[in-house]
């Protein structure tokens, strides 16, 4: 461990309230240091066995079931082959994997994405429109009720309105020389294709995806947060390969994230006047690092599927 890291680690340990800010800047690995038991640093959601056997417990379990098997449990709102739990690991419990317990307590909140204050229900609706490439469940309907109950239960005892450590995917610094799609393709073939398939198509058992499709018609659309290379790099670094998070280098996480997001996927539902250029200018030009509307290998991305 170098001196700079040691100092930052000490700061992070001594001043927990600032730890997340530091991680968001540039030292993401601090919050995920090897050998530290999770219980000592992150909020601990309740155990499933503690759920009461009553109407509330049943609603929470229904929310959990929707979360892990979204396509079958909320089919009218899902337009692809994904489940919430594909991006929120351990059923939305895992720190640094966008856990529900850290999200629930932060709403209502202003979001640049739609330029208004969003309720938690509206935040969930956004996931369905973009990440699930579907349509928003009714705010007062059973899907939102169940997912809200599940989130609320996971956040039992968490402070309201305080950003908790482990909320996001810890940011990964962009490689100094930028990302490299060719290197990304090599990382993909060596580390990812065994599960997600040689063409990012995922793998099924029967009718159900076991390994989610990463691009193409059954994946998230161009409006999903995961289409940002920086977001995908952070997710991948922390969580992939499944069970071996943290094993890819920062550079390779960026390369392979860029490779994944340099493929065509369903259109951004906010498409303006049928124009990729206008949509890029309004929604993508200042949205992290992304390839929507950019030309890659001679083809403009963002035309949708």
């Amino acid at each position: 461990m170098n001196t700079q890291t040691s100092v930052l680690l000490l700061i992070a340990l001594a001043v927990p309230a600032y730890a997340d800010d530091i991680a968001m800047d540039d030292q993401s690995q601090i919050l995920t240091g090897a050998g530290e038991p999770a219980s000592s640093r992150y909020f601990q959601p309740p155990h499933e066995s503690e759920l009461p056997d009553n109407a509330y417990g049943k609603l929470v379990q229904e929310g959990r079931a929707i979360f892990v098997d979204t396509k079958n449990r909320a089919p009218e709102y899902v337009g692809n082959g994904l489940a919430c739990a594909n991006c929120h690991l351990e059923q939305g419990r895992k720190a640094n994997s966008a856990p529900l317990w850290a999200a629930y307590t932060m709403y209502p909140a202003y979001r640049k994405k739609n330029n208004k204050v969003n309720s938690y229900a509206e935040r969930l609706q956004g996931c369905f429109q973009f990440s699930m490439n579907g349509k928003a469940p009714e705010a007062d309907g059973p899907v939102i009720a169940a997912l809200t109950a599940y989130s609320y239960w996971l956040a039992t005892g968490a402070p309201t309105g305080q950003e908790l450590p482990g909320r996001a995917y810890p940011e990964v610094p962009k490689p100094e020389g930028g990302y490299d799609l060719v290197k990304g393709e090599q990382v993909y073939a060596a580390q990812c294709a065994v599960c997600h398939g040689p063409n990012g198509e995922g793998q099924k058992s029967g009718d159900d995806y076991v390994f989610p499709p990463l691009w193409g018609a059954d994946s998230f659309n161009w409006g999903a947060g995961m289409h940002r290379i920086n977001t995908a790099a952070a997710f991948i670094k922390e969580n992939m390969p499944l069970g071996k998070g943290g094993t890819l280098s920062d550079e390779n996480a960026w390369h392979v994230a860029a490779f994944m997001n340099s493929h065509e996927r369903p259109q951004d539902p906010r498409l303006i006047d049928g124009s990729v250029e206008k949509t890029r200018d309004k929604y993508h030009a200042n949205d992290g690092v992304n390839l929507y509307g950019e030309i890659v290998n001679g083809t403009m991305l963002g035309k949708g599927l």
Partner: protein, 215 residues
């Protein structure tokens, strides 16, 4: 004429001719052309169902690609096994191709599909459907599919295998005598499991039936 459709004819032919044309049923029931390639049926059962008590695995319904890779890995030692090593080394490529294709065409076990939506009871089912993420252990079904029915060529079925076989494989990964998984995806998990967890999760998958999990 497709010889594979006429197993009895194949057996009769093989009695008189050296089996260079790799008839799958001959390989399975009589062995390969090289006498060291003993008949599969001896240990894996008449229909490839395995022999649970002895820990010999089921082969019926496994993916052909998975079985071909295992044969190659037995031969090379990446999957160390004193019984299978000489057999796999003695099988010709054509024989391995034929017999794995024949076995893959057989039906897999009939089990109720249980995924992560199900409630869990006991340590085996908890590991299978929830994982142990504080040790970076994913849900078994996250890769092996609902009820561990297997996914593609790389993630073999767990349902339909005996507890003896499953526990022996987990132990082999822990000891490093089996190290033929892609990118150590299984090895790192096996090494994080306790003895009790190995027993419990092996018993869980072995106990799955068309009526669900054994209680």
């Amino acid at each position: 004429m497709n010889i594979a459709r006429w197993p009895l004819t194949g057996v009769l032919l093989a009695a008189f001719l050296p089996a260079h044309a790799a008839d799958s049923m001959v390989v399975y029931t009589k062995g390969g052309a090289n006498p060291a390639a003993m008949a599969c049926i001896t240990c894996h059962g008449a229909e490839g169902e395995g022999m649970a008590a002895a820990g010999f695995p089921r082969l019926a319904g496994l993916s052909a690609g998975y079985m071909r890779k295992q044969l190659a890995d037995f031969a090379s030692g990446a999957r160390a096994n004193p019984i299978m090593q000489p057999i796999a080394a003695a099988l010709s490529a054509e024989e391995a191709e034929a017999v794995t294709a024949m076995l893959a065409d057989k039906p897999g076990p009939e089990v109720e599909r249980i995924g992560r939506t199900a409630a869990v009871e006991g340590p085996g089912e908890t590991l299978a459907l929830r994982g142990a993420w504080e040790r970076n252990i994913p849900e078994c079904v996250a890769c092996h599919g609902p009820s561990g029915v297997g996914v593609g060529d790389a993630f073999p079925p767990l349902a339909g295998q005996s507890a003896q076989y499953l526990a022996a494989q987990l132990s082999a990964w822990r000891q490093g005598t089996r190290k033929n998984d892609p990118n150590d995806l299984m090895g790192h998990i096996a090494r994080s499991l306790t003895d009790d967890e190995v027993k419990a999760v092996s018993a869980y998958f072995a106990g799955l039936t068309d009526q669900g999990a054994a209680r």
